[in-house]
Symmetry: C2
Subunit: 203 residues, 2 copies
């Protein structure tokens, strides 16, 4: 079993994780997305570049981990009900997005689209993790008998994350209201799931 | 009253609009977002650069108009019911996004965040138009007595557009399924509006 403070099954030096995260946040706030380099992060954190590259293959992956996932944060656990699980997951998405800078998110997403290798790595890490969280949430709700049909996890993902992601990055709305939006999204999606409105996965 | 084919009240030569749109689409498909220039569009369209700059202040605004709004496209008209209006608007959003390249959208959004003047222009044109469409839709539903309370148009905007925008640009899902997602989004948002789930605007 992983000890507290470790992410997944991989042993980590959490002081190094913390120093990297602090350096990335400070440098992004001071100079923005385009100016950030792994060299600058290593210097600011007082560590070697090798320690960064053991954790992250690229600058973009490092920024993504820091701004959207935290370094050792876990997704919400089973709350016992579909409504509780959806509310916790929407709040988790919303909290990460509310703490991210919209310009940094936009720069990162553009880089991911411009680089096929980065796109693959993004899919294999970030998207695969989020999809497994959604699938597990749906499995639990099916086992509890809370869903009339099994909805497509990809659609549920888009319906939950979409408004929160778009709110700041596309619509220029305030992060201060992201928690309110997350609450509304959770309410809507739970109702839609309970009523079987979200179609099943296509074969 | 504007003649058919004219956008808003401004007289236009629709052949030039069409030539610009065709050139932008072809060049984006061939060389991608970063490589597109106004010079290349003018050459490809067989027109002068001045004709482009009379319509669009920047390259980014031109791309946005072509890929997300069409050149002379109008938003959906009053369908007579809230459900009809929401379904038509979600389909309109979805159709534009399904026909756009995710990498082009991502590059444009990053440029908008990196340039305060472009951000202002984007807000004053694209966002203001979309917000006015949402406000009119809500006004019509209030007048018909279909809404228990007046929801915040910004929240409705995020809930409708968010999943569609995020589907391709962030989640890497197929544009072929965007119409299905638009249908599901419309169903969910209409139900939420009818039940007063979406909070009012904050004062």
């Amino acid at each position: 079993m992983p000890k507290p403070g470790q992410a997944g099954g991989r042993p980590r030096d959490s002081r190094v994780d913390h120093a990297i995260a602090e350096a990335v946040r400070a440098l992004l706030a001071e100079h923005g997305y385009a100016a950030l380099t792994v060299d600058a992060v290593a210097a600011r954190a007082g560590i070697g570049k090798a320690a960064i590259y053991r954790r992250f293959a690229t600058k973009q992956e490092m920024i993504f981990a820091v701004i959207l996932h935290g370094m050792s944060e876990k997704p919400p656990a089973d709350t016992g009900t579909l409504r509780g699980d959806i509310t916790a997951l929407a709040a988790w998405f919303g909290d990460r997005i509310a703490h991210a800078d919209a310009g940094v998110m936009a720069g990162l997403v553009a880089d991911i689209h411009a680089d096929p290798a980065l796109q693959t790595r993004f899919t294999d890490t970030y998207l695969t993790l989020e999809r497994s969280i959604l699938a597990a949430l749906i499995d639990r709700a099916m086992a509890r008998g809370e869903l009339p049909t099994r909805p497509d996890p990809a659609l549920v993902h888009g319906l939950l994350l979409g408004p929160l992601f778009t709110w700041q990055i596309m619509l220029g709305e305030s992060a201060a209201r992201t928690p309110q939006l997350a609450h509304t999204v959770a309410h809507m999606v739970t109702d839609a799931l309970s009523m079987g409105v979200i179609p099943p996965a296509t074969p």
